[in-house]
Amino acid sequence: MSTRLQTGGRLIDRNQRLSFTFNGTPMTGFAGDTLAAALLGNDQMLMGRSFKYHRPRGVVAAGPEEPNALVGLGQGPRFEPNQRATTTELFDGLSAISQNHWPSLNFDIGAVNNHLSKFFPAGFYYKTFMYPRAAWKHLFEPIVRHSAGLGKVTQPGDPDRYEHFYAFYDVVVIGGGVAGLQAALAAGHAGAKVLVMEQSAHWGGRAPVDGVEIDGKPAEDWVSATLQALEDMENVTLRSRLMGAGVYDHGYLLAYERVSDHRPGTAGPRHRLWRIRAGRIITATGAIERPLSFAGNDLPGVMLASAVRDYVVNWAISPGDRTVIVTNNDDAYRTALALQMAGLIVAAVIDARPTATGALPQAVRDAGIRVETGRGIAKVKGRARVEGVALCAQAGEGAVLEEIPCDVVAMSGGWSPVVHLWSHCGGKLTWDAAQAHFRPDPDRAPADQDGAPFVIAAGAANGHLQAADTLRDAAAAGQNAAVALGRDPADGTAARANAVAEEPLLPVWIMPQGAGPDLRSKMWLDYQNDVKVSDVQLAAREGYESVEHTKRYTTLGMATDQGKLSNINGLAVLSDALGSDIPQVGTTTFRPPYTPISMAAIAGEARGDTFLPLRRTPMQDWHDANGADFEPVGHWQRPYTFRRGGEDRAAAVKREITNTRTNVGLLDASTLGKLVVKGPDAGKFLDMMYTNMMSTLKPGRCRYGLMCDENGFLIDDGVVARLDDDTFLCHTTTGGADRIHAHMEDWLQCEWWDWQVYVANLTEQYAQIAVVGPKARALLENLGGMDVSAEALPFMGWADGTLAGHPVRIYRISFSGELSYEIAVPAGQGRALWDTLLAVGTQFGIMPYGTEALHVMRAEKGFIMIGDETDGTIIPQDLGLDWAISKKKDDYLGKRGQARSHMTDPDRWKLVGLETLDGGVLPDGAYAVAPGSNANGQRKTQGRVTSTYYSPTLGRGIAMGLVHKGPDRMGEELEFARTDGTMMRARIVDPVFYDKDGEKQNV
């Protein structure tokens, strides 16, 4: 059983006992524990179930590479699945549950898959579940999907806060081990602005655990001394619980800070995502130990040798009473020594190498521990927990020589540098045959905006596994990074570490070397996804030769650990099966993030009220307080209608229209774009921007204009007012304000840069209020101020003046067909004028109206609406707007485009009015059918509805639509298809339904 030792544990504080629960069972641990350590301290080796076969899984590692010990953490809206117990700091009140089992962790029905595993080799689902066809949908897929997933589903209502932080550094060092600290020291001494980040809560990495001595003192002491030195440098920032998550182009680095995961519910953000721009990035991310592939290597109790060491030294955890160590290298012998020093039994060290004569093996032998060389593990005994191992000759096929009882197997297949961050942005790797791993190729580093290498690997992450080399390499990395940024080389000498000479490892990819199919089908490569040696060999045999094919076919390395433990071993097995060298086969692509990061951290502050900007007009508070139903228009929220009492939307819209047509209505038109265009060439410029001739417009007058893109398609419309000889005020649609402003600047800056024109966007300087209806003039006259008579201010004219004491500019323009004044007033006075108008207007029966009433009224008048009659494929000619296209101009944006054969095709659909025969309302977007069907069997069509409303004014449905040769077919009847297949008949009519001669707006 696994227990807590009476003494030791460099990271725990035995004075701070913390209580937590696992699957509801109360347990205790110490401050400084990880959840994994605390669970082991409570003899909880079994922590989860595998994905495919639901096999019992114990913890194998002690860090972010852990594939098995995934738990559901927290409760209610704070529940989070798939949390690695090995990187979860224990806190008081923590509650965790294990995953992927039913009904319980110890008894899991799904484990039946385990017994059927022979029938579920890699890719089996591609080969079956096909017949009969219906069975896939109704039987097989539901089963496959039901068994999917690991963690439980999260809940809505995450109560925590998240944020981003933009940071800029010369040099960012990722990794707080001795390499990282040494590199930071060198870069810092050279004067660079440095950030050092460590993903865990503790500095120093492996060195203190491995008993390394640096500059004559224990690594632990050197680490704290160095930390102090770095703290004292004001150009260096140290940050723990901050993980380098992803390296992106141009020195962009994402780092993930777990601010309060270890003290949930406290003030401040839970996670902070650092968006860092770095001159140089040093990846001192260390190395990860590889498992060995022997039969039964996935049983709870089989762990990485380094992890066993970590648990003993860092947390005073005895993973078991009797440990067998199996290795192909010297490093694992450190585990033997650590265990013995803690008073635990090491039954034997099984070394696959023919001989082991290095200093560490010797020390182990001297300590009286049995060492067997040239041996391997034939298989691990036990069901839910290791009970012993059967030894065999590594060179053989697995004939059992001897069985050794034990409850822990500590394995080491050598070390692989953590190259993820090096690789994210295109850094290439080179195969190091001596150490049997891929390490960064310094000649093929990721290049930055200047084409210079910007990532430098250091220490173990660079393939330097011996402490002394690690420090030398790291010092050089820090030095070089600073120098590359133009800093003066300073003291770059490395600290000196004692170096126990280690003998070379022996690459061992399967154990024993001659294992047959039966053993190979019990050798796990990917613990979480249940990918075995036999699966990779099967993939190779079936022609899935590319490493990407094999990965996808077997799902090797696609689990939540992204193959941190399995990739190299799988790769080696694959290349062996293909009979090619490992470097030829190559690796899969490393993708960000290094370990999973929360979605909420990615969104940062963009949630709830601050998800997106919500633009408010000066009158928005009034709308909020007066029953407005809003609709989003761009980032604005515009009142769709103002409901009164128990009114539904339709009734409110009807009331607003009727009132506006009979009394007076009020519209908040502040969102309309208002662009000032000024300069000697302003007229000439607008003649290019608009299809109309604007240069001939007289000061004091307004003109409706159309804008097209170079394709000829209509992109915006609005009223242009000429303010003086060289100044125009161009109104755009609400959505168009910023877009058209950018469009104008584009042409002025990039095409006609010698034209003398300036543009300014005054959209928000003015609140704009449309006072609309037969009683509009009477109302304004009651406000006191400027002359608004037909003579002083005729239709399509504008004038400056004051109203009720406010400085205003009034445009006599109408989008409703009624007598209409659009009043622009400085935004800061908009609400005051609005209130005054409402107050004074009561005697005239004034009512505000919303966008829907606006739509209906414009449709009654046959006015087109950008976005309804247009959809990005419509030219003005389609809409019968030829009158607004100047024939005199030899050029305007879109003129050439409109001359292309398809644009001049007489068969284009053109705008008409549509009148249903039964007075009903045509469905929005309905198509008019034509006889027959096309070559693809689709029903032919001859037109479509672009706008359709119930008109309270006419008491019937009215619509506008585009119809094949429409204007030439007045009076013809068309059939419009409903989605249910039934037809609705409508007659082609003039699109102007109301006040055809425009008398009302022109009084």
């Binding site: 806060r161 981003h164 401040g268």
Partner: protein, 188 residues
């Protein structure tokens, strides 16, 4: 002349930095050839501060000039003076190709103050806000979350930030959240 109401009526939040919407300030967009002496004189004439150079903002209390682009200045005067300032500038520049418009009401103006001010902005703007990189006398036009904004420092610990009036509430909410106690980063 009726009074001018700001977008948020002087909203205020005190976190580990304080955020305060400022009273209306006269703001004038001046577009023209900044090399022209007349343009320089027109701006400095009403603002009473030196002509700013590239990415500079000279400001004394309510009066100042901010360099917005190679052909644009933001001229700041006390709000009651803005109308007269506009016409003064227009007269000074008469005959010269230029554009002078009052944009006071189109803007919201915030003051971000306190030791945490730099951090609060660094959570929302992709800009190096370390003292070595940004300080009084400079202006930075950038984005604040999803909206365009510009800010400058009025002293070592206080910023002024302008954005469009319609997004004042969004900007304030962002700044407020960023300034909530417990969110201290502690790097500046």
């Amino acid at each position: 002349m009726s009074e001018t109401v700001t977008a948020l009526g002087g909203a205020h939040y005190a976190g580990y930095a304080t955020i305060t919407e400022q009273p209306a300030r006269g703001m004038i967009t001046l577009r023209g050839n900044l090399a022209e002496v007349a343009v320089k004189n027109a701006a400095t004439g009403v603002a009473g501060v030196d002509m700013p150079d590239l990415r500079e903002c000279h400001i004394v209390d309510q009066r100042g000039i901010a360099w917005m682009s190679p052909d644009e200045l933001l001229v700041m005067v006390p709000h009651p003076e803005v109308a007269s300032a506009v016409s003064t500038i227009q007269q000074t520049l008469s005959g010269l190709h230029s554009l002078v418009v009052d944009v006071s009401d189109a803007r919201a103006l915030f003051r971000i103050e306190g030791s945490g001010a730099r951090e609060v902005l660094a959570k929302l703007c992709p800009v190096d806000l370390s003292p070595a990189a940004f300080g009084p006398g400079q202006i930075r036009r950038t984005r604040l979350g999803h909206v365009s904004a510009a800010f400058w420092m009025v002293d070592d610990s206080a910023f002024e930030l302008v954005c469009f009036r319609s997004v004042a509430q969004y900007a304030f909410d962002l700044l407020k959240t960023a300034a909530e106690p417990g969110g201290e980063v502690g790097v500046f």
